[in-house]
């Protein structure tokens, strides 16, 4: 049976079409071959290098996170969220092919990020799409001495493609520099490995700091990692202490290492610390590190030094009593006493008593014989085994101290000290080893603050508010704060570096805030 001419033609065309397709496929494969590594275009020695993991999907997840609900400043929060949720104007499947697993960012301007260089590896489809993008769009060709740059005037971005690597920058010279790197000028493989190290972070990177940069006077570089999930934001950083700042941090961190920390006392702001040093040394070194003029060794020394020719002063007695205590220390702001003469924060803390330095509260110098019972002299109540100094007002303005088990309980409020001492300070340890643990309970902080401030609003004494406007504003603050469950900061240091972790845990919208979560 003979075929018709048309069938013959079809029979002849099909193989040709297949061949053509195969040829086209081969060309496409050739054109989209992975001929370059992203690292080739990252200049070595850039001040910051950052890698974003799965940027397209990651950004979407981040934009949906409840963490943003906890951001107190509504305007700026909205601005950021708007940016995150902005429609890029490009279909998502295209973005997924243009920005694949990682996006590298590098640059020198750590303040404005004006010279940021973005590098990513496209998929083959993405590469092909980029090839056809200049046709029918506002992309202009920029020959650039044969470097074949592209310019997008509408967003003033320059980019170039090498193999499947897409390199972008706002600055043409930055892009040209990236494209003309010699072998030794690009980031080392080890550095790239470090950047790419597997992890669950959304963003990780390193920043080299100059002395004039924020924190530059203290740290020479900071490595960081950030992850934002549905209800949690997690940030961790490792900061290398600047050589010039070693003197400043040395006294605090010299020989330091992470220690087991005690569970803090319950309150709206809780702190537990252990620097491996007694309070006296922590006091002085903390002042040095934080550059607080009156927190220094000389001041402590002045307080503690006994005058040769007179009875010990109160300052001497207190400093010599508590100076050797530690190294485990806890301090908590339990809230505000809004019923006191004026609203006062209530601080209470514990200092671990070493076996060799058990303080004797009874050794406090007695008040002068002529002193009235209400005069502001330190007194020891033998029945209660409690030392206190009545100031003006009631018990929340009466600093006190009492020994409870292995700790000396101290506080600005006699009542709070008695309560903690009678309940016995918690003995459990936190799961993390570190030097400092700080936990904030934002709903409680705001609630207590609002109650205290309202007393002033009742008398028109709160700047910018009358009672009505304050009550309205306070509702907003409390609603915002209720979205955050807790903020936890954990820090530890060594001679040369400081490690800090920050966790922000939020409540899902509509969920009732958890009353208290154990640290």
């Amino acid at each position: 049976m003979q075929g018709s001419p048309s069938a013959r033609v079809r029979g002849g065309c099909l193989p040709r079409a297949v061949l053509l397709c195969l040829a086209a496929l081969l060309v496409a494969l050739w054109m989209t071959r992975n001929s370059h590594d992203a690292g080739e275009f990252i200049p070595a020695g850039m001040r910051y290098n950052i890698v974003l993991t799965d940027p397209v999907n990651g950004l979407e997840r981040i934009a949906q996170s409840n963490v943003w609900n906890a951001w107190p400043d509504v305007k700026s929060r909205e601005a950021v969220l708007q940016k995150l949720r902005e429609d890029p104007g490009v279909p998502r499947w295209i973005l997924n092919n243009l920005l694949t697993q990682r996006l590298y960012l590098a640059g020198d301007d750590v303040r404005e990020f004006s010279d940021v260089l973005a590098i990513t590896q496209m998929s083959r489809i993405g590469t092909m799409l980029e090839r056809f993008l200049p046709y029918g769009s506002d992309v202009e060709k920029d020959h650039a001495g044969g470097l074949n740059l592209r310019h997008v005037p509408s967003s003033d971005i320059y980019y170039a493609v090498r193999g499947r690597v897409l390199i972008l920058s706002k600055k043409r010279d930055v892009l040209i520099r990236a494209l003309t790197l010699r072998g030794g000028d690009s980031l080392t493989e080890e550095a790239i490995d470090n950047l790419q190290r597997e992890g669950a972070e959304d963003m990780r990177g390193t920043v080299q700091l100059a002395a004039s940069d924020p924190l530059g006077d203290a740290f020479s570089s900071i490595a960081f990692a950030i992850r934002i999930d549905d209800d949690t934001a997690y940030a961790k950083c490792h900061a290398i202490i600047h050589d010039a700042a070693r003197d400043r941090f040395g006294p605090l961190l010299n020989g330091a290492k992470p220690y087991a920390l005690e569970q803090p006392l319950p309150g709206m702001i809780e702190l537990s610390a252990n620097f491996g040093k007694p309070l006296r040394e922590v006091w002085a070194s903390l002042g040095e590190a934080l550059q607080i003029s009156w927190l220094n060794a000389a001041q402590w020394q002045a307080w503690e030094t006994m005058p040769a020719d007179s009875a010990p002063t109160l300052a001497q007695t207190i400093t010599s009593m508590i100076g050797p205590l530690g190294p485990s220390m806890r301090l908590t702001c339990a809230g505000f006493d809004v019923n006191e003469m004026f609203p006062v924060p209530v601080f209470v803390g514990t200092l671990r008593i070493p076996a060799e330095a058990v303080p004797s509260l009874a050794a406090l110098p007695p008040p002068p014989a002529a002193a009235n019972p209400w005069d502001s002299f330190a007194r020891y109540n033998a029945d209660k085994q409690l030392a206190s100094i009545p100031l003006a007002g009631g018990p929340s303005l009466e600093p006190a101290a009492k020994i409870a088990g292995r700790d000396l309980v101290i506080g600005t409020s006699r009542v709070a000290v008695e309560k903690i001492a009678s309940e016995k300070p918690p003995m459990a340890e936190l799961p993390e080893q570190a030097n400092l643990y700080l936990r904030l309970n934002p709903p409680q902080v705001v609630r207590e603050g609002v109650t205290a401030l309202r007393l002033f609003a009742e008398m028109d004494m709160l700047r910018g508010y009358d009672l009505q406007s304050f009550d309205e504003a306070a509702k907003g603050w409390e609603t915002s704060a209720a979205r955050v469950q807790e903020v936890v900061l954990i820090a530890s240091g060594t001679d040369a570096a400081l490690d800090v972790e920050l966790r922000v845990m939020c409540n899902a919208p509509g969920a009732s805030p958890k009353a208290e979560s154990a640290p």
């Binding site: 019923n339 209400w374 009631g394 007393l455 008398m459």
Partner: protein, 787 residues
């Protein structure tokens, strides 16, 4: 049964019914009474109320217990609970808590809560921060427990009620109380006594009433709980009475009264002496009282209080009440009235037909002190704590007058004065006001209300808000920046400014009160505005004034032409404010014209119907104005209202030695009679030379802007032998070519330009427009228009 028998029988039934009804009626109207006391002593460590120097620290001992004592009385129609507590005050938190728990059988408005004002009982019951400085930390548990015990005493009194009689009388004392501010000053000699007996003649309650602070406890004992002398009084009365008798004490108009101490006793001995002496007096009277089944009558009102500069801390309305027991009137005052007010309330009551009147202070509310107007400028604690202005005494008289049921009210709220008439003048505001001094002020205040409120906001409130008038020392510096100290600062400033009212006449106070009421501002706000330039001068004169800030001149004799004396004056002021002229024609006194601004109640420039012309200018070299007396413009205002000649003004100035920092030009209708008084460290009075008297002399070489102005005016005056008023007005509007800033006679800061003719009692004035060009002059002829 015959018809007659039937009729007789039905009549008998009717008579019986009527008799039964009458008996029932009499039975229902029987007078009943019951009394009870419940101890309200708080736990140790509770802060005690009354003395700020305790700094809120708690009690360390109980010297004697404190009590709530209640008396229930009912005439069958009206039931009353009279509660006497050994507390410093009945504050609103406590009142509300007690009334919530009070027995329902007695209407809330018939419950009278009073405090003896002991300074040694529990505080801790004030929620508002400002009161905690004296009453200590807020202790809701103490508030609740005290309220519960007071309510318990009320319940017990009610439960113990029985058929009773009540009687009253008064006696007097001359050695138990004294005026704590003025040695030998006014006291209330009266001791009031009320006795309540049951039908068997057993005494249910004896009440004493006297006006004196229970402040005999002193020194270390100030931290001991005590009822003070009322506690001794209770014990003495109850010891001398049948068991079950409850002694009660109602304090009187004790604002400036304290227990006397003629025997120079100290400590508790003094307390015992006062309490026992009072008890002896009361028992002496009580033993002679014969009780009756009296009629009770309660009147109550909740009026609006006068405006206060401390509105952030004290309420705008309060609770006033009276209780009438036949011919006895008890007047319940919600605070601490000074004795003068108590005595006047008594005079008013007696004039209305009451046999006796007892003022009961510290009742139902606590609005701090009430001082009579004549004490308002006294730098005393009572005056400082008087929150509602100098008219509070008349307010109390008027409000209590309305609550008396006997006789006819002698006072009533005067109708608002008529509106001021407008005077047409370019570039400013002119007002024609007349009537009483108050009416003159009111008309002015009402017509310029918006401007006055704006001036108050700009000159006083904003200076507190921006911190420029907040002290930079002491506790003020510890306040965190989120706190706005303005409410406290305004209150403290007003207290500080009140002594500057001293020596001013009642007429001036009337005018100031009128301005305040007309403008809807507190009195202290208007007065602070008058003091603002003086206060501001003390801190930064450069920012507010030029030196000197005016130009003024008198020409006399032949040089003044037919006038014989002419006064020219340009008033320079750094702030471009709306100039105001007020032509005031009081019903009693001289008519006068005063030129200034909306807020200036004093006279910077003015003339009266006697032809007395006054003008003042600030001269820095004469020193800083002092704050220990009225500002110069208020003194000149008094001169315009009362003085007719230069001699009288000179005499007046001798009575106010505190004045410094100003030159005053005065002239009258007597030919060549003009003077400039330089009020500096020493006083110099200058007279015209060659018919010219300049406000300030200028040195041979001009240094300041004023030197240029005065040199120019001197040159222009010497250029001609004789001037009429229009010629002088032209000189006052001179702008010397080539001179800058404030060096010309008429300059950018001139706010009014005036020529005064004392002989013809005419004043010509013009206000500049925003470009500094004077508007059409207005002439006011000062002849009296009202009889």
């Amino acid at each position: 049964m015959t018809n007659r028998e039937k009729s007789f029988r039905s009549n008998r039934i009717a008579v019986c019914c009527l008799a039964l009804c009458l008996i029932a009626s009499v039975r229902a109207r029987a007078f009943e009474a019951g009394a009870a006391k419940v101890e309200i002593t708080p736990p140790l460590e509770t802060p005690l109320n009354g003395y700020g120097d305790r700094q809120g620290r708690g009690a360390i001992a109980v010297h004697d217990p404190v009590w709530a004592r209640s008396l229930f009385i009912s005439d069958g129609t009206t039931s009353v609970l009279l509660v006497n507590t050994d507390l410093c005050v009945i504050n609103r938190e406590l009142r509300d808590a007690v009334l919530k728990l009070a027995p329902a059988e007695v209407p809330k408005e018939n419950i009278f809560l009073t405090a003896t004002h002991t300074h040694s009982a529990q505080g801790g019951m004030s929620h508002l921060l400002v009161y905690r400085t004296v009453s200590g930390r807020f202790m809701p548990e103490v508030l609740e427990s005290t309220a519960q015990k007071i309510a318990e005493s009320m319940q017990s009194a009610l439960a113990s009620r029985k058929r009773a009689t009540i009687g009253f009388d008064v006696t007097s004392q001359d050695n138990l109380t004294e005026n704590r501010r003025v040695p030998g000053g006014p006291v209330d000699p009266q001791i009031g006594v009320i006795r309540v007996d049951d039908s068997d003649g057993n005494t249910i309650a004896i009440i004493g009433n006297m006006a004196a602070h229970p402040t005999t406890v002193e020194g270390a004992d100030k931290f001991s709980i005590s009822a003070d002398y009322p506690g001794v009084f209770y014990n003495a009365i109850e010891a001398q009475s049948a068991p079950g008798c409850v002694a009660m004490f109602l304090n009187g108009a004790e604002g400036n009264q304290r227990p006397a101490n003629p025997e120079k006793l100290s400590g508790w001995a003094h307390t015992e002496w006062v309490g026992n002496q009072l008890a002896a007096k009361v028992m002496e009277v009580a033993s002679k009282i014969t009780g009756v089944e009296a009629q009770l009558h309660v009147q109550r009102s909740t009026p609006e209080l006068p405006r206060t500069i401390a509105s952030s801390f004290v309420p705008a309305t309060t609770d006033l009440a009276t209780l009438e027991v036949d011919d006895l009137l008890l007047t319940f005052v919600p605070g601490e009235p000074c004795v003068e007010i108590g005595l006047e309330l008594r005079r008013m009551a007696q004039a209305r037909g009451y046999k006796a009147q007892l003022t009961v202070g510290l009742a139902n509310d606590h609005l701090l002190y009430f001082v009579p107007r004549e004490l308002y400028s006294t730098p005393s604690y009572e005056c400082g704590m008087n929150m509602y202005g100098p008219a509070i005494d008349r307010w109390l008289y008027r409000e209590f007058d309305a609550l008396m049921s006997k006789g006819k009210p002698a006072t009533s709220k005067p109708p608002a004065p008529e509106s001021a008439a407008k005077i047409d003048i370019e570039n400013g505001t002119g007002l024609k006001v007349q009537g009483s001094r108050y009416a003159i002020g009111y008309q002015r205040g009402a017509a310029l209300a918006d401007q006055l409120k704006e001036a108050y906001a700009n000159k006083i409130v904003s200076r507190c808000e921006d911190g420029s008038w907040i002290p930079s020392s002491g506790m003020w510096t510890y306040a965190p920046s989120f706190l706005d100290l303005t409410p406290v600062a305004l209150w403290r400033l007003s207290i500080g400014a009140r002594p500057m009212l001293a020596t001013l006449s009642n007429e001036t106070l009337d005018t100031l009160e009128g301005i305040a009421d007309g403008a809807g501002l507190p009195f202290d706000a208007v007065w602070l505005m008058q003091c603002a330039p003086t206060i501001a001068a003390g801190e930064s004169i450069e920012a507010l004034y030029q030196s000197p800030f005016c130009t003024m001149v008198a020409i006399t004799g032949e040089r003044a032409g037919s006038d014989q004396v002419l006064v020219g004056r340009n008033f320079d002021w750094i702030d471009a404010e709306n100039p105001v002229v007020v032509d005031a024609d009081p019903e009693n006194g001289m008519r006068y014209v005063q030129v200034g601004f909306s807020w200036t109640a004093g006279a910077y420039t003015g003339m009266n119907e006697a032809g007395l012309a006054v003008a003042i200018e600030r001269v820095e070299s004469a020193g800083l104005p002092a704050l220990n007396g009225p500002p110069i413009d208020m003194i000149m205002q008094e001169a315009l209202m009362r003085d007719r000649s230069v001699a009288e003004v000179l005499t007046r100035l001798e009575t106010v030695p505190h004045l410094r920092g100003y030159h005053v030009l005065i002239a009258d209708a007597i030919p060549e009679n003009a003077r400039v008084v330089e009020l500096g460290e020493s006083r110099v009075t200058r007279v015209p030379s060659s018919g010219i008297l300049l406000g300030a002399n200028f040195p041979p070489t001009s240094v300041t802007d004023a030197d240029y102005r005065y040199r120019r005016i001197d040159t222009l005056l010497r250029a001609k032998r004789s001037f009429e008023s229009d010629a002088l007005a032209r000189i006052m509007s001179d702008k010397e070519p080539g001179r800058a800033a404030q060096q010309t006679i008429l300059n950018a800061q001139t706010r009014h330009s005036v020529v005064m003719e004392p002989r013809f009692k005419r004043i010509h004035l013009a206000f500049p427009d925003e470009n500094g060009k004077l508007g059409t002059p207005l002439t006011i002829s000062l002849r009296k228009t009202t009889p």
